[in-house]
Symmetry: C2
Amino acid sequence: MPSAKYDRIYDKLRERIENEVYKSQELLPSEHVLIEEFDCSRNTVRRAIKQLADDGYVQSIHGKGVRIIYQPYEQSEFMLSGIESLKEAVARNKKEYTTKVVCFAELMVDDKISKRTTFPIGTEVYYLQRVRYIEGEALIIDHNYFRRDIVKGLTPEIAEKSVYEYLEGPLGENIVTTKRKMTVERITEIDSKYLKLKDYNCLAVVSSMTYNADGIMFEYTQSRHRPDCFTFYDQAQRVK
Amino acid sequence: MPSAKYDRIYDKLRERIENEVYKSQELLPSEHVLIEEFDCSRNTVRRAIKQLADDGYVQSIHGKGVRIIYQPYEQSEFMLSGIESLKEAVARNKKEYTTKVVCFAELMVDDKISKRTTFPIGTEVYYLQRVRYIEGEALIIDHNYFRRDIVKGLTPEIAEKSVYEYLEGPLGENIVTTKRKMTVERITEIDSKYLKLKDYNCLAVVSSMTYNADGIMFEYTQSRHRPDCFTFYDQAQRVK
DNA sequence: TGGTATTTGTCCGTATGTATC
DNA sequence: GGATACATACGGACAAATACC
């Protein structure tokens, strides 16, 4: 499945920026030059550049050029960004990790759960608690709610591997949008039961809602991270 | 300075979604219909829709339509999103707030500061510590570093009001890009000196780098929030 | 099963405006 | 003023996914 032309151009430019073929603070070659190199229309290079800007690699300056503002991150940290399963994020950092399912239930959304998850009352869901070990240490505990009519046939065995791979593989679901909320919360009994918390009395909590290609929210997850192994990156542009 | 056409269309559509003229889970009118209504080209409505998708209001489904996936947030919470000064965010929530400058210094970036801020060694900066009070309570402490050659003539008096208004007003700087990193950190002596921390032993920390229209990073700020008043929202799309 | 209409996705070309140098 | 570079907008062509008959 070949990707789109603007996407290939984006990839090439991003690679050059990351490898410092184009150095930080310099200007990108002008649109005209890029059009010649990639043999495409102006719209197409502009689309690639827009994506680079959205991702924090460059910044367009009207009448002047496109400045590169890329700064490599320290790879020592564990990073969350975009839509990415924990498995993918860990693999990117070349670390080992395992998952243990400590609770697996099928239940119906009641008033209380509905308020937290925004699932309609009466929705049938799987509820899971999963402990995530990275390099042998229990660092994260997930509370997952999956709609049973979409994540069909989920089992603890699958949940110990990767729910996302199951969704995108056998079930043919394409995850498209995720909305997240980050907060810091006091630890609960469950947290201290499963995580090695040192003396922290708070956790980094990421609550997320995930939509499939049909625009249906099929997952609500609350991910509770030990503070010292949590980092989240973000990039924003002011529209003027 | 009238805004662009696609931006006005974006605003109108967003308003309709927020006011539930278009309801969640429904499809937006097709591009063809919107073109007629707004009397514009296809590219222009598509651009507006792209922006709505980036902001988590809708999700396009190939061959089908554009589904609305908007869920209103609870307004009770204090929300951080996009590039927004604290003053703007608080105003949006109709709360009162004040700022107290507890430290104001001019200094030169040394090796240690350079590592943290990524400013080159030798850069002349203002260093500030500011305590932020919302509804009378000390909730946030900021550590600001501003490049002195860009944020010219900064004074404690200006810093008690709004540095951003000063930048965009008298100095004519247009803030464009911000990169942020969120972590949870143990409290320090300075934190407990100025903030009413209850019994939390951690803080939500947002470290941000801000670039002006020339692509120069002119600000590094570490913002330390009391856990119970910190929320950060994010929205991501998987490219497929 | 197949054909047609609808709808979104990609790509191109062109014209005009505006900011920088 | 002129040259260069990015920004906005329009229109057209074809592809791909979906819906419906």
